[in-house]
Amino acid sequence: MINQENNNRNTAGVVPRRILGSLLASVSAGVVPRSGAPYIAIGRQDEIAALLSDLEAVSEGGGGMRFLIGRYGSGKSFLMQLIRGYAMERDFITADADLSPERRLYGSGGSGVATYRELMKNLASKASPDGGALPRILARWLSALQDALQQEGLIPETAAFDERMNAQVLAQLREVEFLVGGFDFTKVVTAYYRAWRDESTVENEEKKSACLRWLRGEYSTKTEAKNTLGFHVSTIIDDDNWYDFLKLWAALVRLMGYRGLVVFIDECVNLYKIVNRVSRENNYEKILSMFNDTLQGRAPGLELVLGGTPQFLEDNRRGLFSYEALRSRLCDSRFTPEGYKNLIGPVIRLRRLSDDELLALIVRMTRLYSQYYKWDARITDEEMQHFLKICLSRAGADSMITPREMLRDYMTLLNILLQNEDATFASIVEKTVTLKTDEEEKQLTTAATITVESGKGGEAAPDRPAFDPNDIDF
C-alpha cells in the first residue's frame, strides 16, 4: 500500500535536483543535511510549531531562547538545520556554531570570541545560505539606501547625493549607537561604507577588508586594529564583550530590513564537559545573561537556540541544573505531570523517533531516492518493515538506535540494489545478517532448553549456538 502511494508520488513529487543530491549525500554520509532537511522531516510537528512561533515573535521585535535537549542522535541538529532553513527563507539572518573545547561561551585565551568568529563565518541569508553573508548583508543595505535616494531623484556620484547618503547611513547607525560597543561598531561600519563608496582602489579594498576583520572579531589587540583600520577604536571584539556585539548585530539586521537574527549553538555538552568548576560556571552565567536578555526584551530581534544532551541540562552536579539560578528558571514546574508535553517553556525535550516514525522515514527516503535516480526502487513494504525490525533487534536499540545509523545502512542497501540488477533485498540481508524469524527463534529456544535438560542427564548435547542479538552484524 505504501509503495503504491510511493510510486504515485514519484511521478508527481519534485524536490530541486541539486538540493536532493546534497540531501542524499549528507544522509549517506551520516551527517545532518544543511539543505533539503524539510523533505525528510518526519514527526516533530509540535516541536517545529513551537520554534516557528518563536520566529514569529522575533520578527515582531521580540527575543527568544530555546534549549533543544535530547540524547545523541535524537534529532537536535536536524531540527536546528530545519529551522535554520526556514528562517533564512523568511528573511531572517542566521548564524550557527558548534561548541568545542576551543569554542566556549566564556573563556580566556580566545575561546569565547572563537565562538563569535565561527558565528560570523557562518552568517547566512536567503541569498547566501552556505554562510559568509556578512559583506553581502552590508552591500545589500547600502545599495538599498542608494536606491532609495535615486528614487527621490538624486543623481549618483554628485555632492548632494553623497551628502544625503552619508546622512542616511549615520541616521540609521545612530539607532544602535546607544548599545554597548555601539559607538565603535558605528564607526567601523561607517568606515566600511566610505571605503565602499569611494573609488575601488587597493587602499579602499584593504580598508574594507580591515573593517570586516574588526566586525568578525579577528583582531587580538587594539593597536593591531588601529594600525590596519587607520583610525582609533576604543574597543575590539573579545572574549568578554562578544555577546554584546551579537545583540548589536540583531539590532542592525533589523534596521537593514531583515526580520531578525537567529543564532544556533549546538554541542553545548562541551560546556558540561569542562572540568574546572569555576570555568564551567562562568559559561553557565553567560547562558543566564543570554536567557535574561532575550526573555526580558533587552535583545530585540534575537533568537537563541541551544542544543545539548540531557546531562548538559539536567545533571545536578555539572549540568545547567547545578547552577541554581538556571535550574530555577529551566526546571519543570511542580505541576507538570509526567507524560505531558509543555512546549511553551524554554526547554524542548526530544525523544527518539518512534518505530512508526522510523518506518515512515524509510518510506520517505525510498521515495526521494527513486526521484533522484529516476529509478523505481525494488523494495516492498514488507521488506522495509523487515529492515527496520533488523535494526531494532540489535542489542540496546530500543534506546540507542539513531536515524543517522539506520539511514546510512538503508542508503547502502538502496545503492547496492540500484547498481546490481540481480540483487534482491533478501539476498543482501541474508548475506550480512543472521536474524531468525520469531518462529525460528522459538524453535531454537525450545531446542536449547531440551539440550540443557538432556545435558543434565549426562547425554552429549548437540552443538547448536543460542540466539544472541549481538551476533547481528551489518
Binding site: G13, I42, S128, R140, S143, A360, V363, S399
Partner: protein, 592 residues
C-alpha cells in the same frame, strides 16, 4: 790631594747630624696594652647534696604534711668537707665535660623496613643531669602514702623542684601507676616518671620500660595531648637504643589514628606483630597520595562516609592478606633506601649514658613511589566501587592496578554488597531524568507509518512554502523598493505532492516583471562566464556584483527552490552547473 780625597771620602761615609731627620718625623702614639680578662665559659656543675638515708627514713606522711610548702632542706652533714660527694658542692669548679672517643655500635633489627641501626655515643659526657639520676635512684624504691593531688609545673620537671607535698603525691601516684592504676594527674608528674624510665635502664629493664611508656601514653593521651608530640619519638629512640621491637600491638589505637605523626614513620609499620588491619590503616595514613576523607563523595552525606570508613580499609586489608605478608608487598614494589640520623630523647631530661646519635638506614615510604601509587590506586579503586554502588557516575582516575588485585577488590565488594550490587549499577547507568527521554513502547504498524508519512508532508510543505504576502510584516519604503520580488513571490514548487511542478519546469514566465533589468543583464554575463563584463557592467550601473547576484538568487530560491549563481572565488559569479538549462530558458524568455 790625597789627603783631601781621604778627608772627602771619610766625610762621605759618615753622615753628619744635619742629615738625621728622625727627630722631625711625627711618630704615632703607641697604644697601651690593656690587661686581658679571660672568662671561663665552660660549664660548671653545682650540685646539691642528696637526701641522706637517715633523713629518708624520717620522712613520713605526717612530716611531709607539716612541711608541705618548704623546699627540700640540705643537711649540714651533706655539706661536710670530708664528704667525697660534696667536693663539687663547695663551690669548687666542676670538671668540664670530657670528650670520649665515639665507639659506634651497629646492628640489624628484625624489622622489614629498617635495614641497619648505628648507635654512636654522645661525644661529651655532660654531667648536668647526674644529680637527677642520683635522686631518681634514691627514690626508686620509695613508696608513697595516699595523699591529695598537688599541682606542679616545670618546663623540665625534676625532683628538687618539688615541694614535699608534691613529692609525696608523685610517690603515691607512681606507686599506683606501677600497680596499673592510672590516677588523674598533671603532665609534669608524667614526664618525671618518663624521665625515670629513660634514664634508669639498669633499674627498669627496657622490656618493662617500653611497656610502661606505652601504657602511660595510651592512658593519658586524651587528657594530655602534648604526650603525642614527644612519646612517638622517645619510644622509637628507646626501642632502637635497647634493640626492642616496635610496640605496635600496644599502640595499635594510636598508630591507626590518622593524626599520628613520627619522623621515622616506617618504624611503626609491621614489626611482625601487627595485624593486616593495623597495617592497612598505617599504609593509608603514611603511604598514600590520596585522602578519601577529603573527597566530595565522602563529605556529601553520612551514609557515604560510613561506607568509606568501613570498606576502604577493609578492602585494603583484604589485599594485604592476599599478599600474605607485608614482606611480599615490599618485595613486589621497589622501595628506595634512605638514611636518617637522630639524637635520642630530644626534649627529654636525659643523662649522657643514654644520649646517643642514632643512624638509621631504612626503606622510605616517601621515596618509594611505586608502593605509594599501589596503595593510592587500591584506595581509589575501592572508592570507585563504592561510588558505583551508591549510584554515583563520576570516578577517580587510577594510575595502574593489576587485574589480580582488581579481582580481589571486586570479590570483596561482591561479598560486602551481595544484594545491592545489581540494583546500584543499574542506578549508576540511569539517572532519574533519563526516563523523560524514554519512548513509550508501541508496536510498529504499517498503517500508522503511512499516516505519519502523509502528515509529514504537511510539515514539509509548511517549511518549504514561499513567503506569502499575507504573512509579510510591514516592509519599510527602502525594502519594498529594493526587493520587489518579496511582494510578488510565487508559491514554491514542492508543496503538496499533487501540486508539485516537475523537476525540469522552467522558471516562471513573469520573470521580467520581478527581476530588474540590471539583474537580467548581469545574469547574461554570468551565464557567459564573463567576469570582466560583469564588473564593467556593475560599475556602469553603480551597483555591487554581490547585490545584483543576491537579487537573482533570492528570486531563484523562491521559484526554483535553490540559488542560481555562485561565487567562483575571484569575486565573479557563475551559473551553477545544474541550473544552466533553467538560466538559459529564463534569458531566452526575457529576450523574446
Amino acid at each position: 790631594m790625597v789627603e783631601n780625597e781621604k778627608k772627602g771620602g771619610k766625610d762621605r761615609n759618615t753622615p753628619d747630624e744635619f742629615w738625621d731627620i728622625s727627630d722631625l718625623v711625627i711618630r704615632p702614639k703607641q697604644k697601651k696594652e690593656l690587661p686581658v680578662r679571660r672568662y671561663d665559659t665552660s660549664t660548671a656543675e653545682i650540685s646539691l647534696p642528696p637526701l641522706s638515708q637517715s633523713a629518708d627514713a624520717a620522712v613520713n606522711h605526717r612530716v611531709v604534711q607539716q612541711a608541705a610548702d618548704a623546699p627540700i632542706p640540705i643537711s649540714k652533714a651533706d655539706l661536710a668537707p670530708g664528704n667525697e660527694e660534696n667536693k663539687t658542692a663547695e663551690g669548687k669548679r666542676a670538671t668540664p665535660p670530657q670528650e670520649i672517643p665515639p665507639e659506634a655500635i651497629t646492628y640489624t633489627p628484625a624489622h622489614p623496613l629498617i635495614e641497619r641501626v648505628t648507635l654512636l655515643p654522645w661525644k661529651t659526657n655532660f654531667p648536668y643531669y647526674e644529680r637527677f639520676c642520683r635522686i631518681a635512684r634514691d627514690l626508686f624504691y620509695r613508696t608513697g602514702e595516699r595523699c591529695e593531688a598537688e599541682p606542679f609545673f616545670s618546663y623540665m620537671p625534676q625532683y628538687d623542684q618539688m615541694t614535699r607535698s608534691q613529692l609525696a603525691w608523685y610517690l603515691y601516684w607512681r606507686d599506683e601507676v606501677r600497680k596499673g592504676n592510672y590516677l588523674k594527674t598533671g603532665y609534669c608528674y608524667i614526664f618525671l616518671l618518663l624521665f625515670e624510665i629513660i634514664n634508669l635502664p639498669d633499674l627498669i629493664p627496657p622490656s618493662k620500660g617500653i611497656a610502661m611508656m606505652c601504657k602511660i601514653w595510651t592512658q593519658y593521651r586524651e587528657e594530655h595531648l602534648t604526650l603525642d608530640r614527644y612519646l612517638c619519638e622517645w619510644i622509637c629512640d628507646y626501642c632502637l637504643l635497647h634493640r626492642l621491637p616496635a610496640p605496635v600491638e600496644q599502640l595499635e589505637s594510636i598508630v591507626r589514628d590518622p593524626s599520628f605523626l613520627c619522623q621515622l614513620r616506617e618504624f611503626y609499620v609491621h614489626a611482625g606483630q601487627s595485624s593486616a588491619a593495623v597495617d592497612a590503616d598505617v599504609y593509608m595514613n603514611c603511604c598514600s597520595n590520596y585522602d578519601y576523607k577529603k573527597s566530595r563523595f565522602y563529605t556529601q552525606n553520612a551514609e557515604n562516609a560510613a561506607a568509606c570508613d568501613r570498606h576502604i580499609p577493609g578492602a585494603l586489608c583484604r589485599v594485604l592478606q592476599s599478599l600474605q605478608t607485608s614482606d611480599s608487598l615490599f618485595s613486589q614494589t621497589q622501595m628506595q633506601s634512605s638514611t636518617m640520623t637522630r639524637d635520642t630523647f630530644v626534649g627529654a631530661l636525659c643523662s649522657h649514658r643514654v644520649k646517643y646519635k642514632i643512624g638509621v638506614r631504612y626503606r622510605s615510604f616517601s621515596r618509594s613511589h611505586e608502593l605509594r601509587f599501589f596503595i593510592t590506586d587500591v584506595i581509589k579503586y575501592s572508592e570507585n566501587k563504592l561510588r558505583a554502588l551508591h549510584g554515583y557516575k563520576s570516578k577517580l582516575s587510577i594510575y595502574a592496578l593489576s587485574e589480580p588485585i582488581k579481582a580481589i577488590l571486586n570479590a570483596y565488594f561482591v561479598e560486602a554488597y551481595p544484594k545491592n550490587i545489581g540494583k546500584s549499577e543499574m542506578a549508576e547507568q540511569r539517572p532519574d531524568y533519563e526516563k523523560l527521554y524514554d519512548l513509550p513502547t508501541t508496536p510498529m504498524t504499517a498503517a500508522e507509518a503511512a499516516r505519519i508519512e502523509q502528515e509529514s508532508w504537511r510539515t514539509t510543505q509548511r517549511l518549504v512554502e514561499a513567503f506569502e504576502e499575507n504573512d509579510a510584516p510591514e516592509i519599510t519604503c527602502e525594502q519594498s523598493e529594493v526587493h520587489p520580488i518579496v511582494r510578488e513571490e510565487q508559491p514554491c514548487a514542492p508543496l503538496d505532492c499533487e501540486q508539485m511542478p516537475a523537476a525540469e519546469t522552467p522558471i516562471e514566465t513573469e520573470t521580467s516583471d520581478v527581476l530588474s533589468k540590471e539583474a537580467l543583464s548581469f545574469l547574461r554575463y554570468a551565464y557567459a562566464t564573463d567576469a570582466a563584463g560583469q564588473k564593467a557592467y556593475c560599475r556602469s550601473v553603480g551597483k555591487m556584483p554581490e547585490n545584483i547576484a543576491d537579487e537573482i538568487n533570492e528570486y531563484a530560491a523562491d521559484t526554483l527552490g535553490d540559488i542560481l549563481l555562485e561565487d567562483d572565488g575571484s569575486g565573479a559569479f557563475i551559473v551553477i552547473e545544474d541550473y544552466r538549462e533553467q538560466a538559459r530558458a529564463l534569458l531566452e524568455r526575457c529576450t523574446e
